[in-house]
Every structure is written in C-alpha cells, then in structure tokens.
C-alpha cells in the first residue's frame, strides 16, 4: 500500500536504544529499546510502510519516524463473551428473589 501526502498515518521511532537506557530498570526492560508511536498527517508526497517519513500531528507538531501504519484502526474491542461472567446476573437475581437461604 502507498500512502499519499495528507493521509492519516502512524509512525514509530526509537527514543533510547537499550544501551542508552540509563534509568534504573528491571533486567527484561533494559534489554529492549524505548520506542514511541505517534499518529498524524503524512507530509511526504508518497511513502510505503517501512519508509522514513515526516508527519504533522493533530496539534500541528512535526515528527519523523518509520511509517508503520496507514489509516491506523482502533483494534481494541469489547472482548468475547466470558463464560465465567455471563451467568453472574442470573445468579444474583436468584438470590434476591429467593429465600435468604441462597
């Protein structure tokens, strides 16, 4: 897919490489870089995923980084029905309706 100037995109940038992470950190976190993702409107004429690009964010700040997504989707959702939860309402109503020996 090719992104064009003005498209809504997401970029990624490494802020600190593992060896630059000098804050006190647990071992697992120390081994990986500190990275950032930001969204904005593409400034380059065209670009492909993986290209170094520049964007303008919602408040007009310019940021550069590697293009990772074009028209990025919100993919968090409501989840699946959870068997451990879906009977709770019925159980509680039964206690309310029934005798106190529930």
């Amino acid at each position: 897919m090719i992104a064009k100037k003005g498209d809504w995109v997401q970029i990624q940038k490494t802020l600190l490489k593992p060896e630059e992470r000098t804050a006190p950190l647990p071992e697992d976190t120390k081994k990986v870089p500190l990275q950032m993702r930001v969204k904005g409107f593409l400034i380059n004429e065209t670009a492909q995923i993986g290209d170094e690009v520049e964007i303008e964010t919602l408040i007009g700040r310019r940021v550069s980084g590697k293009l990772v997504s074009i028209n990025p989707k919100y993919d968090h959702d409501f989840g699946e029905p959870v068997p451990e939860l879906i009977t709770i309402g019925i159980e509680l109503r039964k206690i309310l309706e029934g005798d106190s020996d529930a």
Partner: protein, 475 residues
C-alpha cells in the same frame, strides 16, 4: 541542538519543570524533607469556591449520588442479622470525559489558559489523559498526552488503547511509548520542545480540583440520609483522589468520616517490567502504584507532591481482580449502571465492609467511571486469556494469584478484603525517607513532620526510626 540523552534531559529537569508548572516550591521547603504542606495548598491552589466556579464553566462536577438499592437489598439478604450497611455511589462517569479526572484537570487547564500557555501536556496512561484533552478542548488549548502503552512486542493494554482513542477524539496528540519509567524523561523532552504547561497530576491545582468531590459527597449524603457518611471508600493509586476527597469532606465539616483506601492486589508483578506489563488487567487503582505512592509520595514529577494519602487514610484494603470484575457485573445487572473499572475496586471493598458493618451505617463509594471497548471485564478477561492467564470461578481470597490466575467469586458472600496494616505502611514511609534522603539522624522537626505526613504520633515515628536503626537528635 539540545542534548536529548536520558542523563542530559534529567539534569535539566528542575529548570524545565519550573517553567512548565510555574510553582516556586522553594518557598515552602523548610529542609530537604520538611515542608509546609498546608501553606503550599493554600497559596498555590485555588479556594473551594473558586474551584467550583471554574468547574461550573466547563460542566464538571455536581454529579448524582446514587443509592445502590438492589445491591443494598442483596447485602441485607446475605449479611448476619443487624449487619448490612447501605452503599451509595457518586456517579462521576457523568463528567464530560467520563471520570472524576475532569475535576483534577479543570484547575490546571484553567490556570494554563490564564497564564497564556498555548497548550498543556500530561504524562498519563489513564483517564486523566482524556480529562486534560477534554478540558483543553473546552478552553481552546492544544494538548499532548504521553502514555506508557505497549510492551516490546507492540502488544497494547486494551484499556490504555481505549484511553488513547478518547484523547484523540478530543483533538489531542497522543504519544504512545513502550514500557518504562522513561515516560517521565520523554515528557520533559516534550515540555522543553513545546513550552506547554505541565498539567501534572500532583500539583496543588490538581488536588484542589478533587476537593469538590469530597465536598459534594458530604452535602449530598447529609441531604439523603440525614448525616455525613460513616465511611467513604476510595480507589487508591497515586493518592490524589484519596487526598482531594478527604480534604473536601473535611472542608464540608465531615470530620468523623472514615477514609478507607482500596486497591487491587497485584503483588509480585513489577511495574517497570516489560514481561509483567500485560499480566495486569487493571491499569490503575492497584498496589503497584498504591503502595509506592503512599510510602513515598515525592516520587512524583514535581518537587513536592500535593497528593499525600497517608495524611488522610484510616484503613487500606486490598481486593482481587476477580472480585472487581464480579462487582462490575453486579453493578450493571442489579443497578443498571454499566461502569468501571477503577471505581469498582472501591465498590468491591465497600461490599465486603457493608456485610460487617451495622445496618444503620452509610458507606459512600466516591466514584464511577465510563466504560466500553477495552475497559469492560469481557475485554480485559479476553485479553487475559490470550496472555495465558487461568480464569476460573472460585474463592478469590484463597485462590487469587496475580500474574497467573484470576478467580471470579461463586457467591457474593465470597467478596472479602485483605487488610493492609497501617502501622506497616507508616513504618515503610520512614524506611523510604531514610533510603531516599540517605538519612539516619532525625531532628525534632523532622520527626514532627513525618508524624503529620503519616497521621500518627511523634512517639510512633521515633519507635520506627529506632527499629530501623536510625537515631534521634535531641534539640
């Protein structure tokens, strides 16, 4: 070119923060440890009347206090004879961005506008981001929210992804980072680059904004029940909601109300660990923030934190993730209120408390928050299962195992709490002071400050100092 290495930016911290919050903390410092908290709150914050006015301008506050009638019936049914306190809940989800955090953001954004800042920045993975973004929209300021959001494999915590969506809906730029305390480092970089105001969660502005919550609770409870609440149960993380609510209650005259903090127990999970990041199904109101912030509030981004929970907390109760999910279902199914997650942590603790308290007592849960995609128990438990957690019905008090197993109660009588001993927390506070300030010798003034800061006696503080191997300098 500015040097953007971690050490160089942290070295510029004081000058960056001074410009970005505009508070001269030096004025209130008496020594490195001792400072005049009340003077700072009075001079820097705004009066309760002024805060109410500021909040009125943007439609914040004056939320409904709701009696949980069906849940209260359930409590009476399963409680021993003569027990079963009534629970009321403050429906903070009806604030503009969906949580009490609008109160917390309102004064900072007002202040930033008044002082000519072009925009505001907040470092937060929580509801506070949406609140700052919403208040900034209302006042025509730009807004950047920086969040800790993903692990190193780019797996995002669904609740934080939802909060990012919400911020963007209000026109804010959202900077999403991978796991690590360097969120603070990068916030400094952004503050320096933009010259925006730091809408920190921990300034006197932020806490003054929350005082109206406690104030309204006192007034409304009295109207509805004829007395001030016997107890207010408050979900505790960084301590701002507890501090602000307690101060507001006192300002309204509710001085005998018990202040009870409640957190989700996430014992054993490291907050800065990349591996542990997605093993937590609550992103706030848990022990990972609650204990460190109570025992050393000055770990925050400002020199002196205005959120000081131990000054006000009478008891601290821990509940499990499974109990909170259960109570979230209960609130939706019995009260017709789909809310959560954070406020329901204190609701779980309140439910357990109500079963033990006399039936003429009144408990107030001080907040709800908006819910939906990413935030619902179904979203979090689906995610938990994907991350390999075991999920089962059972006895949460006996079987809960943070990071491995989530246990949903089989019956409401299984909702309980683990009481955290306040003496242990206060002693940890003294231990942290010794560690952070590399101190072993304490003057009379320091002892007296620590007693005030933890709401205990000087004798107790002296006892802890001695037990921890410190010494007293007798003046």
């Amino acid at each position: 070119m500015r040097d953007l290495s971690y050490d160089a930016v942290i070295a510029r911290k004081n000058e960056i923060m001074k410009r970005a919050v505009g508070i001269d903390y030096e004025k209130y410092m008496i020594g490195e440890l001792v400072f005049d908290y009340e003077k700072m709150m009075q001079e820097v914050g705004y009066s309760l009347e002024k805060v109410r006015e500021i909040q009125q301008e943007t439609g914040v506050g004056n939320t409904t206090l709701v009696e949980l009638k069906q849940i209260n019936r359930l409590i009476k049914k399963i409680a021993p004879k003569g027990k079963g306190a009534r629970i009321f809940i403050k429906d903070e989800a009806t604030n503009p961005s969906g949580s009490y955090k609008d109160r917390r953001a309102s004064v900072s954004v007002y202040h930033a506008q008044k002082h000519g800042y072009k925009g505001v920045i907040a470092a937060t993975s929580g509801n506070y981001g949406a609140a700052v973004a919403s208040q900034a929209a209302k006042r025509g300021l730009k807004c950047i929210i920086a969040q800790e959001c993903y692990d190193s494999r780019w797996i995002g915590q669904p609740e934080i992804l939802e909060k990012a969506r919400s911020c963007e809906a209000y026109g804010a730029e959202v900077v999403q980072l991978t796991v690590g305390p360097e969120l603070f480092y990068y916030t400094l970089v952004l503050l320096e680059e933009t010259g925006f105001f730091n809408a920190s969660l921990y300034t006197p502005y932020a806490i003054a904004g929350v005082e109206t919550l406690g104030y309204e609770i006192a007034i409304q409870t009295k109207e509805m029940t004829g007395k001030y609440p016997d107890a207010v149960v408050i979900t505790h993380a960084g301590g701002g909601i507890l501090t602000g609510t307690a101060r507001g209650l006192k300002k309204a005259g509710a001085v005998d109300t018990q202040i009870i903090g409640a957190s989700v127990n996430l014992k054993g999970l490291h907050m800065a660990s990349d591996n542990d990041f997605n093993k937590k199904y609550f992103t706030t109101g848990h022990t990972g923030f609650g204990i460190p912030f109570a025992t050393f509030p000055d770990r925050s981004d400002v020199p002196k934190n205005a959120a000081r929970a131990l000054r006000y907390m009478d008891r601290y109760l821990l509940v499990s993730q499974g109990e909170v999910f259960y109570v979230t279902e209960m609130l939706a199914q019995l009260e017709g209120m789909q809310r959560g997650p954070a406020g329901n942590t204190s609701l779980a603790a309140a439910f357990a408390l109500a079963l033990e308290m006399d039936d003429d007592k009144v408990i107030v849960v001080n907040e709800t928050e908006y819910t939906g995609a990413g935030k619902l128990p179904s979203a979090q438990l689906t995610f938990a299962r994907k991350m390999g957690m075991e999920i089962k019905r059972g006895d949460p008090i006996k079987e809960d195992l943070p990071g491995k197993r989530i246990v949903i109660p089989e019956h409401p009588s299984q909702i309980g709490y683990i009481e955290f001993n306040m003496e242990d927390i206060r002693k940890s506070y003294v231990k942290e002071v010794m560690k952070r300030y590399k101190k072993t010798k304490f003057t009379k003034d320091e002892v007296s400050f620590m007693a005030e800061d933890t709401n205990t006696t000087e004798d107790k503080i002296k006892e802890y100092i001695k037990e921890l191997g410190g010494e007293l300098i007798e003046a």
